[in-house]
């Protein structure tokens, strides 16, 4: 089967391992994906982050070839693969529930892709040993999956997807079945393996902490569209929309009385009866604006150029070193603040509380 190579643009598109162009997917009348564009560079770990039902798993299934797109193109290393079978695509996949072959040993599971590719026995053995070494699973070659713990099974599943060195490894919530402590450990493992091998990885999760810990870049999905894309820092500091601000950065959204855009991506905003100047990335004139304020940027003491928010305490939660306080601010909305416990002072339900946020910590975003 020969597939015409897709023309490569001069601006370095040739270095993209995976490119999605205008991918749509409809199941009958239900739209699962709506014009998705995404590019993953070689050696990059990109996370698709979104609530359940946002289309991230469907997108992954289209890349691996379990589903075909209704419209649009999937391009892997310059070749259009949209109509190929999964076997023709040279991808690796890690599933949430491991999906190891129960009748095969660890070595046979890891070597499966090589066997299918008709590699010699010697090469298979060498490569399996290498991969198990990398995964710190040497010595488990002859075990069966049922004899392994969940974390070990997931390592074997990683090994099976990596052993034949595919163009891209797809991971569908691979840590979803593990408990919290193990998840943190495996996050570091995936990070380390990604670094050591230089593997290209497209990772799906609904857990923002996991996305933050792992990703070079994050694409945030909502209702079948990518609604925000960037490095963890970019998305966290300058969310492009209210949804991204609240879903990804846990920001509170405050009602804005009016605003005026200024040159240089800032805005002059009237909020809660005060004027402030703050960043306004991705806002076009005429958009409805809301003010996003992250939990940690709120303080009990105000400095110059701070927005003052006064209201009634609706909830107080102890979270480790912090207290999370929910305050209803009349005319602005409900805000959630994370205050260091040792300096949070007296906090009681129903009390009046004043909180301050520095202007440069607030972001005006489109209310989507």
């Amino acid at each position: 089967m020969t597939i015409p190579a897709v023309e490569r643009s001069a601006d370095g598109a040739a270095t993209a391992a995976l490119e999605l162009r205008g991918v749509d997917k409809a199941f009958g009348p239900a739209v699962a994906l709506d014009g998705v564009d995404l590019s993953v560079a070689r050696g990059e770990l990109v996370t698709l982050l979104g609530p359940s039902g946002s289309g991230k798993t469907t997108l992954l299934r289209i890349v691996v070839g379990f589903e075909s797109p209704t419209a649009g193109r999937v391009i892997l290393r310059g070749q259009e693969i949209s109509r190929m079978t999964p076997a023709e695509r040279d991808v690796g996949m890690v599933f949430q529930h491991y999906a190891l072959f129960p009748h095969m040993t660890v070595a046979d599971n890891v070597g499966y892709g090589l066997k299918v590719r008709r590699r010699s026995r010697a090469e298979r053995e060498r490569r399996v040993a290498e991969v198990l070494e990398l995964l710190r699973m040497s010595g488990y070659e002859r075990r069966y999956p049922r004899e392994l713990s969940g974390g070990q099974q997931q390592r074997v599943a990683l090994g099976r997807a990596l052993a034949y060195d595919p163009e891209i490894v797809l991971m569908d919530e691979p840590l979803g079945a593990l408990d919290r402590a193990l998840r943190t450990e495996m996050e570091q493992e995936i990070r380390r393996i990604h670094r050591d091998l230089g593997a290209t990885i497209l990772y799906v999760t609904h857990d923002q902490q996991e996305a933050l810990a792992l990703s070079d870049r994050i694409a945030i999905m909502r209702a079948g569209r990518i609604v925000g894309e960037g490095t963890p820092d970019e998305l966290y500091e300058r969310p492009p929309s209210a949804f991204v601000a609240s879903f990804f950065a846990n920001a509170s959204l405050l009602t804005v009385d009016s605003y005026e855009l200024e040159p240089g991506g800032t805005a002059d905003v009237r909020c809660n009866g005060q004027r402030l100047s703050c960043a306004a990335p991705g806002l076009s004139p005429g958009d409805d604006g809301v003010l996003a304020v992250r939990r940690r940027s709120l303080r009990r003491a105000g400095e110059a150029r701070s927005l003052r928010l006064a209201g009634v305490v609706a909830e107080v939660l102890r979270l480790g070193d912090d207290r999370q306080v929910t305050v209803d601010v009349p005319g602005a909305g409900r805000i959630v603040a994370l205050l260091a416990a040792w300096e949070s002072g007296d906090l009681r339900l129903g009390m009046r509380l004043e909180l301050f946020v520095a202007w440069d910590q607030a972001v005006l975003v489109t209310a989507d």
Binding site: V64, G65, F66, T85, P86, A87, D90, V91, G92, M93, F95, H97, A99, L100, F101, P102, H103, Y112, G113, V116, R117, R160, A161, Y164, L170
Partner: protein, 260 residues
Amino acid sequence: MSDRLVHVLGIVVAALVVTILLAPVLLTAVLSLSSDSYFTFPPDSWGLRQYREVLGDARWASAVSYSFELAVPVALLSVAIAVPTAFAIGRSRLPGRHAIYAGGLAGIVVPISAFAIALYGVFAELGLHGTYVGLVLANTVLAVPVVLIVVTAAMARVPVELELAAMAAGASRRRAWLGITTRLLLPSIVAGGVLAFVTSFDEVVLIVFLGGVDQTTLPKAILDSARFGVSPVITAVSTLLMLGTSAVAIAAVGLARRRR
């Protein structure tokens, strides 16, 4: 009522049911050890006389061998039909796959005498009445549901992700189905085949309706022998039949349970 009482009552009821069901079986087995030439209870003397008579009589041997001649191809044919059907039902998006499943089970849902009468008419039309091929086909219709039930149930427990994982790793769909799913289903497929064999081996209604005079299976021979003169020999034949089929069925179930 306390849980304990319910528990004890449950055991008593279960024991009673098992005893009532098994009593005739045990009685038959006991009677088969009689040395009398006619039925008496309790027997006047004990011995293996009935078994010697069975083994010495060529009619019984030929009935057993004819039962095998039917049951083996029926089992193979049932597996050959039921396994691909199970894949169509469990692993495809084929429209009407639920109707296929319902249709596949018809053989054990329709009352067997009604089925036999219907086939009688059809076979008369097609010239299949009293033929070996006709009997194999008729028994297969009865045996397919057994295999289908066992294999679809087992397939539901094999995660689809295993096939997807194989295909993502580079296997064709055929290779994933054969090398992974079918391989994992193998114990259940063998178990289903054995149960199909037993279904055909034990079958007595279809052979009475559709069989010719020279087509005598073991159950038919037992029936004939009971009809034309009561001899204690049939207790030995029945006991052997029960032992044989139970051994095979237990082996099949054990096989299906292994490697879970």
